[in-house]
């Protein structure tokens, strides 16, 4: 809903103008939030009130503002955002506005323009046609017009629904002492709802998904169409393939839970064979990989990004070793995502959290409470932490979604 700030000044309490203005807003189908009210102390002091007025659309808001003006409620004059061109590629003006992951608007040409892709720690670039979007520092180009300072930028604070249910209050709530079955059922219900609304589900996975024996459950979720995007690293993909080709995860038998003879090199051999074939997709095509999460992703054409890190063995040919390029590849797959599952992953979860708008429902499942807290501390306040074994979580989630 479009919003404007209006100010009302005068003997607005005694003249009942304040009450009238609120009534006029509601009668017109609009809504308001009282930003502040200052009541005059003496008979002659004027009172002031500032209201955020909203209406269903721009036209309704314009006619409502016109109606309010009659009663002395005037739009608070807001200046346009200050724009400054980048002097060079990949370098922002010194005073650039640094974004949050919250819904943001920029004042351009005396209009509030929605920022198209909320992402934290970016710059705001305004195109020649007046559209505004976030751009990470390394992607700006010389001459891009970047918002500097805070004038003409407003951020919509996250709504704080009232309620005791942690799902109604998604504010870095960590659930180490809550009944897990209920939480999983609620996550499943939310995924169904998001899917019904056309939203996409992103899974971010760590190697523990495979170590705990949960990969078949995740593979089932992929196979049955519940996962739309996968972000992970070399470790997860390697162990997923290793477990399907050799039955071990990092050399440990998935079935028996004991180290196998020479198993410490199993993952290297698997990586080597995939490298021989050129890509995971090629390894699936020629029958080297016959099951697992990566197999299902290839078969179902679920896009995935494997971001590399310093300690990676191999790596697999699909791993993007340039971290900036990896983040860009992830960024390109974020639009449309409405639910994110962070599954036993610390680094990729935080990296993904950095890219997601605050409106994405994010569930961080980890046995370690510190991971959940860390994600929230990095600014992904919307994340709901579920402290539990990822294997148990995925088994129950798959059972709930793929009966």
């Amino acid at each position: 809903m479009p919003v404007e700030l209006v100010e009302l000044e005068g003997h607005i309490i005694d003249s009942l103008i304040f009450a009238k203005v609120l009534d006029v807003i509601l009668a017109a189908g609009g809504d308001y939030r009282v930003v502040d009210v200052e009541i005059g102390k003496t008979n002659t002091d004027v009172s002031t009130a500032r209201l955020e007025v909203s209406a269903p659309d721009d036209a309704a808001l314009a006619s409502l503002l016109e109606a309010l003006q009659v009663h002395g409620a005037n739009r608070v004059t807001v200046v346009d955002a200050t724009l400054e061109p980048c002097a060079g590629d990949g370098v922002l003006p010194a005073a650039f506005y640094s974004t949050t992951n919250l819904p943001t608007q920029v004042r351009v040409g005396e209009r509030w323009v929605d920022v198209e892709n909320a992402e934290m720690d970016c710059a705001l670039v305004v195109d020649d046609d007046g559209r505004a979007h976030t751009v990470p520092m390394h992607r700006v180009r010389r001459g891009d017009r970047v918002v500097v300072g805070g004038d003409g930028v407003r951020v919509q604070a996250p709504e704080r629904p009232r309620g005791a249910n942690p799902f109604e209050f998604m504010a870095s709530e960590v659930s180490s002492e809550k009944p897990k079955g209920l939480l999983v059922a609620e996550v499943a219900a939310r995924i169904r709802r998001a899917r019904a609304g056309g939203g996409r589900l992103l899974a971010v996975t760590g190697p523990a998904v495979v170590h705990t024996g949960a990969a078949p459950d995740l593979a089932r979720l992929v196979r049955e169409g519940w996962v739309d995007v996968l972000f992970s690293g070399n470790g997860f993909a390697t162990h997923d393939i290793e477990s399907n080709v050799l039955g071990t995860s990092l050399g440990v038998s998935i079935r028996e839970g004991v180290p196998t003879e020479g198993g410490h090199a199993n993952h290297l051999r698997v990586i080597n064979e995939v490298r021989r074939r050129g890509s995971i997709a090629a390894a699936v095509e020629d029958g080297f990989v016959r099951g697992g999460v990566m197999y299902e992703c290839v078969k179902r054409r679920v896009p995935f990004v494997l971001g590399g890190s310093l300690r990676d063995d191999g790596p697999l040919p699909d791993v993007i070793t340039d971290v900036v390029a990896a983040a860009d590849a992830m960024r390109a797959l974020v639009p449309g995502v409405t639910v994110a599952l962070m599954l036993a992953s610390t680094l990729h979860a935080i990296a993904t959290g950095n890219l997601l708008p605050a409106g994405v429902e994010t569930y961080c499942v980890d046995i370690n409470q510190a991971v959940v807290t860390k994600l929230a501390d990095r600014g992904s306040h919307q994340a709901l932490g579920i402290v539990t074994d990822v294997g148990l979580f995925l088994r129950e989630l798959a059972a709930a979604l793929c009966p």
Binding site: E9, G10, H11, D14, S15, L16, I17, A19, K20, N43, T44, V46, V70, H71, G72, N74
Partner: protein, 272 residues
């Protein structure tokens, strides 16, 4: 207690009066004004005001300014300060310089309103109960009330006018003394009615027909209430309160939407 103002008035003779344009529902250019009758009515009103005990000052008429006769709209007097009106309609805007010149030459301090608000002086602002009651919508802006309040250091109560036939506050409200006033609630919205209800302990409430006879547009000098024509019920109530009603017909001026009060501007108002 009687009003502590209303003993000194400014009036402007109707030498150049006429309905030359239409800026309220009463004005019709095709209805001719009888200037001789207008002069007689004006002289009679002046004599009535003076015989009630008030002093009348005269503003020189000007050709091309037909509504200059309605001195109530010249501006707002507060002690020795004069706030010239900012007229809504361009037809009346040239009156301002002439009005301000008179007040300036008669010892008033001119306190102008900013250019971005409209306010039509005593036509839309009357003192009662220690506050300035001011109308808005047709001629004055609600925003002008805040400016006036700050400019003069006065509490202002805003009233939204809703009947275009009663386009100025002084067609709907007439202070009689410190507790009583003639009121025409049909001219206000529901909030305005509540504001007046809280402000006026003993209102004389007019019905629609009474309001449209312009009897709220009266000049009050002590216990004398001067109005164009007095509905019988209103007359009885006023007499019951100890007022004497004097009818002073102003039919020619009603053709332009103005009554007795509109033809006078009290020069002795002091609120602050």
């Amino acid at each position: 207690m009687r009003l502590d103002w209303g003993r000194r008035y400014l009036m402007c003779p109707p030498e150049h009066f006429g309905v030359l344009y239409e800026i309220n529902p009463w004005m019709h250019r095709e209805v001719p004004v009888d200037l001789d009758r207008a002069r007689d009515e004006w002289e009679r009103l002046r004599a009535t005001v003076e015989s009630a005990g008030a002093h009348v000052e005269v503003l020189d008429p000007r050709p091309g300014l037909p509504d200059l006769v309605f001195t109530a709209n010249a501006g707002l007097v507060e002690g020795d300060r004069f706030v010239p009106s900012r007229f809504r309609h361009p037809q009346r805007q040239p009156e301002v310089a002439h009005d301000a010149a008179w007040f300036s030459s008669h010892g008033f301090v001119i306190t102008p309103l900013p250019e971005d608000v409209h306010h039509e002086g005593a036509g839309d602002a009357l003192p009662f109960g220690g506050v300035l009651l001011s109308g808005y919508r047709f001629r004055s802006d609600a925003a002008s009330h805040t400016v006036l309040s700050k400019l003069l250091g006065l509490p202002v109560r805003s009233l939204e006018l809703v009947d275009p036939r009663l386009y100025h506050l002084d067609l709907t409200f007439c202070p009689l003394d410190d507790r009583r006033a003639i009121v025409a609630p049909s001219g206000w919205d529901a909030y305005g009615r509540q504001v007046v209800e809280a402000l006026v302990p003993e209102p004389l409430v007019l019905d629609d027909d009474e309001a449209l006879s312009f009897c709220a547009n009266s000049v009050v000098v002590g216990t004398t209430v001067i109005m164009p024509v007095c509905p019988a019920r209103v007359g009885r109530l006023l007499e019951g309160w100890g007022f004497e009603v004097v009818e002073s017909p102003v039919d020619e001026f009603l053709k332009a939407g103005g009554g007795c009060r509109c033809l006078t501007l009290a020069l002795d108002v002091r609120l602050a």
